[in-house]
């Protein structure tokens, strides 16, 4: 499902170059649930962004959902993201001026669904995350855990192949974090979503099927959960 081959990524800021990934190989089959761990600044988010088509590699091949992302135009990448990926961020990133159901409806505008169908689908997704009673609440009126569940509903609303989560429990307390992990496990086991999750949290990582450790641009297989 996700495949990196000899992927290099170097950031340039000012005159300085920072090589984050040097010839990285990575293989995540469909239906897998991978936790990506590693020290801060090791390149975890970079891998996630490359896999989600938010950024492009300098060299090497990134293939996700049987498409090669390297040479795609920004417009083609946007359309590809709309079809194949769902993002979950550490800081939720809901649109503050929209309520829960509108936030979840948003990505459905990039699908062929009509207005009423979009609404139904959004409500269905919010049902999956257990927020059917919070449709009209704005992000500011929700708790952190609820916000993240709305964000997960938004990520799965378009029924993507891959869910990319960047420290999804980073801003949550233990109990809420457990709820969110429970949800991700269900998405993986019941809906068969392939999940790549960056985390610092060993408890969260333990819920994944396997853990990869990233250090100085090198991947090491960790113990399977």
């Amino acid at each position: 499902m996700i495949s990196f081959e000899k992927v290099c990524k170097t950031y340039r800021r000012g005159g300085e170059e920072l090589r984050v990934l040097a010839s990285l190989d990575l293989e995540i089959p469909a239906g897998d649930f991978v936790a990506l761990m590693g020290p801060s600044g090791s390149g975890k988010s970079t891998i996630l962004n490359l896999a989600g088509g938010l950024d492009t590699a300098d060299s090497g091949t990134v293939s996700v959902a049987s498409e090669t992302l390297n040479r795609m135009s920004s417009k083609a990448l946007a359309q590809w993201r709309a079809r194949h990926t769902g993002f979950v961020f550490q800081s939720f990133n809901l649109i503050p001026v929209l309520n829960a159901v509108e936030n979840v409806t948003l990505p459905l505008l990039n699908t062929p669904l009509k207005g009423a169908e979009r609404r139904k689908q959004a409500e269905y997704a919010l049902g999956i995350v257990g927020l059917s009673d919070r449709l009209k609440h704005r992000p500011a009126q929700l708790s952190g855990g609820q916000e993240q569940r709305v964000a997960i509903a938004r990520a799965i609303a378009t029924d993507p192949d891959v869910i990319l989560a960047d420290e999804p429990t980073g801003d949550l307390d233990r109990d809420t974090a457990n709820e969110v992990m429970e949800l991700l496990v269900r998405l993986n086991e019941e809906l068969g979503k392939t999940i790549l999750m960056v985390t610092h949290d060993q408890v969260a990582a333990d819920r994944a099927k396997r853990t990869l450790h990233l250090d100085k641009g090198e991947l090491a297989d960790g113990s399977a959960a």
């Binding site: 950024d55 946007a78 359309q79 079809r83 993002f87 649109i95 503050p96 929209l98 990039n110």
Partner: protein, 401 residues
């Protein structure tokens, strides 16, 4: 397949209602001022634009305030190509109080009503048979003191058909200090902008006969309005009239009605330039204020733009939403300001009617105003739009905004 979430524009306008209200207010006030200032200029020049093409005006070459001898009337009438000649003399009186000054002209009633058939429309006349115009024509002939008045003037003083209107003459005071007596026999509305609804026209022979009794010196007339017959070159008729009086006793200056009105307008100095500069400066200042507001709005939306892009919205869609928001705010402001100008112009006309009797916001002015609001919206939205379009999703998501 990619839909555009237009509702996001509505949400932003509503949630940031303070910003929306302030910006709409600023734009609407600017365009209100623009419309009003422009209308001062257009109502001055409207008379020029709408002048009858076959009408020429004969005046003294010295000045508008020097009278021409009355026997010029017959001489002008004999010039080839002259269809009709109407005397037109400024009276300069007031009604009851000197504050109630308005334009009054002594005219040859029959010729005048015929020459101005397309310029004004009679809307009230004494009872009788025939059309309103016919009844006014008859009534004017029947009564030496007959006068027709514009609807606005009649409304202002509550004059009806048959009402007496005594005017005190400032240029032509009666020796015993009494007022001139007039009777309203017709009320008109302007059909073209060279006529306003604040004027009174009365019989020249009433003026002539009364003055002849009062004074020994021969009386004259300020202007002769001449209609040129179809098929005759206006320039030639003008040249022939002026040639007639080249050796006096009074040299004449003959011009088209348009040129005559333009000469009148220039007495106001360069008002158009002055008002144009002020109007332009206001709109310019507002443009910068709106640009600043929209840039601020865009900066607060960087993260949202990143999220939208992550969700698969294209750069174009994200940028379009920003531009539409800017344009919406400004066009709403344009509609409010232009609408206000339209509503308020009636009241303003009441106040400035002596100098600007035809004060009315022209449809063209309203269109330009709305066009400017659209332009302000586009210009103000441009930089924020480009900024959000160029933003890389990763960088947008990394930002604090």
């Amino acid at each position: 397949m990619s839909g555009t979430p237009w509702f996001l524009v509505r949400k932003h306008l509503r949630v940031h209602w303070v910003r929306t209200t302030l910006t709409v207010t600023i734009v609407s006030v600017a365009l209100l001022l623009f419309c009003i200032l422009t209308t001062f200029v257009t109502s001055l020049t409207a008379a020029v634009d709408q002048a009858a093409s076959n009408r020429i005006v004969v005046q003294s070459a010295v000045s508008l305030f020097v009278e021409l001898p009355l026997d010029y009337h017959g001489k002008i009438a004999n010039v080839p190509g002259v269809e009709s000649v109407c005397k037109l003399q400024w009276f300069g009186g007031y009604y009851q109080d000197e504050k109630n000054s308005f334009a009054q002209f002594a005219i040859d009633d029959e010729v005048f009503l015929q020459q101005y058939e397309n310029d004004l429309e009679i809307i009230d006349a004494p009872p009788g048979d025939g059309s309103l115009l016919d009844r006014v024509r008859t009534a004017m002939r029947a009564d030496r003191r007959a006068a027709i008045v514009g609807e606005g003037l009649a409304d202002k003083h509550g004059w009806k058909i048959g009402d007496p209107v005594p005017l005190t003459g400032k240029i032509f005071p009666k020796s015993d200090g009494s007022a001139w007596d007039f009777t309203v026999v017709g009320i008109y509305i302007p059909k073209r902008m060279n006529v306003d609804d604040q004027t009174m026209y009365f019989r020249f022979d009433y003026l002539e006969e009364t003055l002849t009794q009062e004074q020994d010196q021969p009386i004259g007339c300020g202007t002769f309005f001449v209609h040129v017959a179809p098929g005759h070159a206006i320039d030639e008729v003008i040249a022939n009239i002026d040639a007639l009086f080249v050796n006096g006793p009074q040299k004449t200056l003959t011009s088209t009605e348009a040129a005559f009105s333009a000469g009148f307008v220039s007495m106001f100095g360069n008002l158009p330039l002055f008002f144009g500069t002020i109007g332009g400066a206001i709109v310019f200042a507002v443009l910068f204020s709106v640009v600043n507001t929209m840039l601020l709005a865009a900066r607060q939306r960087i993260r949202e733009a990143g999220v939208m892009k992550a969700l698969g919205f294209t750069n174009r869609t994200v940028a379009t939403l920003m531009l539409v928001e800017s344009v919406s705010i400004c066009v709403i402001g344009g509609l409010v300001g232009t609408g206000l100008a339209w509503v308020l112009s009636e009241g303003i006309r009441g106040v400035v009617s002596v100098m600007f009797p035809t004060f009315a916001v022209a449809p063209q002015t309203m269109l330009i105003s709305l066009g400017m609001s659209l332009t302000i919206g586009l210009l103000a939205g441009l930089a924020p739009t480009v900024m959000l379009a160029r933003l890389k999703p990763v960088e947008a998501l990394r930002s604090e905004g």
